[in-house]
């Protein structure tokens, strides 16, 4: 079985379960909307949002709901010991990692499809003016966050108190992603749009993704071996 096909099979398995139950998608989506609502009370004064608030709220919502989705995606694998079955299956471990990563990224993309227009509407943020750059920032940011998150969530499956440990481990490591995402988006939303700044952050995110996906592929095998 070739590598790409294995990756796709793992992803398809996750998507199929999700398509039937829609459990993670709906819970994560409404959690993200609640995040936007809760943070709006902190950042909106006299009916007007503070400067940069839209970018901050968008990325906080993505990071929080991403953590939730990661936790759930692997909790499902743990409950019926299916992760063990996947580990025993005769396939390269990196393919398993990439398959899970792709599943998480697609799930978060589905959440973002709702969240981004919502934030744009509620905070009068012109997120679609520089559509491609925003899309690039969102895509690379989500991949970066999920790349680290998938590895950590996978390795925490066997650990105790995994629900608390996942955010505790994940947030400090993904701080560059959050900073780049928020500042890059904010550069596109401010009164005088700073396209070159957004491009700089985007290139940093691409670099981050390349380094951390490689590192995760490299460490997945020794970390997951019992």
């Amino acid at each position: 079985m070739n590598f790409v096909r294995t990756v796709w099979l793992v992803t398809r398995k996750d998507l199929l379960i999700e398509a039937r139950s829609k459990e993670i998608l709906f819970t994560t989506l409404f959690f993200a909307i609640s995040c936007v609502l809760v943070f709006a009370f902190g950042f909106v004064r006299e009916g007007r949002a503070l400067e940069d608030a839209a970018a901050a709220i968008l990325w906080i919502a993505i990071a929080f709901s991403g953590t939730l989705a990661l936790g759930r995606a692997f909790e499902r694998e743990r409950q019926s010991e299916t992760l063990r079955a996947l580990m025993i299956a005769p396939m390269p471990r990196p393919a398993l990692y990439l398959g899970k990563l792709l599943g998480v990224v697609l799930l978060l993309a589905a959440v973002e499809v709702v969240i981004v227009p919502l934030v744009s509407l509620m905070f009068e943020a012109p997120l679609f003016e520089h559509g491609w750059l925003t899309l690039g920032l969102l895509a690379t940011g989500t991949i970066g966050f999920a790349a680290v998150g998938t590895l950590f969530a996978a390795m925490l499956v066997r650990a105790r108190s995994r629900d608390v440990l996942l955010p505790v481990l994940l947030y400090p490591i993904t701080i560059p992603v959050i900073i780049a995402g928020v500042r890059g988006t904010a550069a596109l939303l401010q009164a005088d749009v700073d396209v070159s700044m957004a491009r700089l952050w985007l290139s940093m995110l691409v670099f981050f993704d390349a380094v951390f996906v490689t590192l995760a592929l490299w460490t997945f095998e020794p970390v997951m071996t019992e």
Partner: protein
């Protein structure tokens, strides 16, 4: 050498605007530098442990992680004391401060994972340490682009000669102290592992 450091520091010339508080510098900067050193020691030791399964490397990694956390506390306590005097604020969202805090958080997370992660968490923690080490330049660069105010690294060569001596003296003292503590802590971990083996043998 460590005992002599206070005398060196007292003899160092006064910094006119800040007075005695500037002496924290001899404590703050070396502990910050050893903290970053320690983070790299932990990361490299963890990578070795992850790929070669040598228990010795894991012991060095635990020792280094604990020292990173302790040095981090020293840095994060002395930093604000100094900042209050130098910049008039306790805390400033500035690159060095923020990245030190992030680095400290990563290694506290490492220790939390080892403590509460249950069996097998040593290898998971090693993964976290490797990620943490690789993350350092990213954190530094991104936070740097975000904000700037701390005296640059280039402040050291520009120090007046009277202050430079005690500074390097403190730095060497701190590095030596670090190496000794690391060694002792690693040995303690080794003894503990040996003791465990003996206990198991006794039970059988």
């Amino acid at each position: 050498m460590f005992a002599y450091a206070p005398f060196m520091i007292v003899r160092a010339p006064y910094e006119t605007t800040m007075g005695p508080i500037s002496r924290i510098f001899y404590f703050h900067a070396p502990s910050g530098m050893t903290m970053f050193l320690s983070a790299f020691v932990c990361g490299i030791a963890s990578a070795i442990y992850l790929f070669s399964r040598r228990d010795g490397a894991d012991r060095v990694a635990v020792a280094a992680a604990e020292l990173t956390a302790i040095l981090g506390i020293i840095v994060l306590v002395t930093g604000p004391l100094w900042a209050r005097k130098a910049w008039g604020v306790w805390w400033e969202w500035e690159p060095r401060l923020t990245s030190s805090l992030v680095l400290w958080l990563i290694f506290v997370a490492y220790l939390l994972l080892r403590r509460y992660g249950g069996p097998g968490s040593d290898r998971l923690a090693a993964g976290v340490a490797v990620f943490g080490m690789v993350n350092v330049p990213f954190v530094y660069w991104s936070v740097n682009l975000w904000r700037t105010m701390h005296p640059k690294t280039t402040v050291v060569p520009t120090l007046p000669p009277g202050m430079r001596g005690p500074f390097w003296y403190s730095f060497v003292a701190f590095t030596l102290l670090y190496i000794i503590t690391l060694h002792l802590r690693t040995r303690l971990e080794k003894r503990r592992a040996e003791l465990e083996v003996l206990y198991l043998a006794l039970e059988e």
